[in-house]
């Protein structure tokens, strides 16, 4: 399976993502933001970081990068595009997924492990995964998911909520909401479910000695789904 990770100026999780994808069998290529064409890929990843120093709004400058037109075309033709953290912020700025990510409710940069409940398994990302709850890592200043009431209704009607912040048992309550996101939303899909944006970093949870293995379950499942 072929994957591509886009590096923007200020990306800092691009190499972690490269390591994770390769560890679970992807033939991964790094792609520079000024490139125009994507290599032939089964999965394109927009990694975490601080693209363009978060100028204007997080992800806004990167969303206008040269490579992004190819990424948007790839997504619109059904290709799988996953945005993690800053990648999620870039996705909302392109309009590939609805809503925006605001400054965290209590103005803190949050860097810790969280639990997320998988809300929808009827898609290429979570199909066949045995876990209902994953322990993943978040590190962000702008992860407070927001959308209009009309958008929220549409998102829920189309089952576009991918994951919600929860407790270790999967209980979704405001107490377990780290950043003020509407309905504890940690990740969402586009309507067709081939584009996924999420704040937590699965690539940081692929080694039991360093962190945990819940990211491993995610990647192992993802590559099997793509085969």
């Amino acid at each position: 399976m072929k994957s591509a990770v886009i590096t923007f100026p200020g990306s800092n999780c691009d190499r972690d993502m490269d390591v994770a994808l390769k560890k679970f069998g992807f033939n991964n290529k790094m792609v520079w933001h000024q490139d125009v064409e994507l290599p032939k890929s089964d999965l394109v990843v927009l990694p975490g970081g601080f693209s363009y120093g978060d100028y204007l709004r997080c992800g806004s400058m990167a969303s206008k990068s040269k490579i992004m037109q190819s990424v948007i075309n790839f997504a619109n033709s059904g290709g799988m595009v996953m945005g993690i953290c800053n990648g999620f912020q870039i996705l909302v700025e392109t309009g590939l997924v609805p809503g925006v990510l605001l400054r965290n409710k209590y103005l803190e940069f949050i860097c810790r492990n969280v639990f997320v409940k998988i809300n929808n398994k009827n898609n290429g990302y979570f199909k066949n995964i045995i876990n209902d709850v994953l322990e993943l890592h978040i590190a962000h200043n702008e992860g407070n998911y927001f959308c209009t009431n009309d958008q929220l209704k549409e998102i829920e009607d189309n089952a576009q909520v991918a994951i919600n912040y929860c407790d270790p048992e999967g209980k979704i309550e405001e107490t377990f909401n780290p950043n003020g996101s509407i309905k504890n939303i940690a990740g969402i899909f586009n309507k067709e479910k081939n584009v996924l944006g999420m704040m937590p970093h699965p690539e940081r949870m692929i080694d039991p000695y360093l962190s945990g293995e819940d990211g491993s379950y995610f990647f192992k499942n993802l590559i099997n789904n793509l085969k």
Binding site: K105, L107, F146, C147, T148, Q151
Partner: protein, 80 residues
């Protein structure tokens, strides 16, 4: 020609920075403040000399890049 744009958060969008600034003002003795909302200000110097055309162009910039219309409003305040 110079055009100025102000971007503000929409009414229903939480503005924690504005809230903190409000609290700080309160602590400094400015007790009569009802609310503070923080925004952004841009000055755009354009080659266009026709004020209407320049405004239209800046409006397009606002919609495509300067503002995120899910959460923000823009206001073109003057052309000179």
């Amino acid at each position: 020609m110079k055009i100025s744009v102000i971007i503000t958060l929409k009414k229903d969008v939480l503005d924690p920075q504005g809230k903190v600034i409000h609290q700080a003002l309160d602590g400094m003795g400015f007790n009569d403040v009802n609310e503070v909302r923080q925004g952004k200000y841009f000055e755009i110097d354009t080659k266009e000399t026709d004020p209407q055309k320049a405004k239209n162009k800046v409006e397009e910039m606002c919609k495509k890049l300067l503002a995120n219309l899910v959460i923000e409003n823009y206001k073109i305040i003057d052309a000179q």
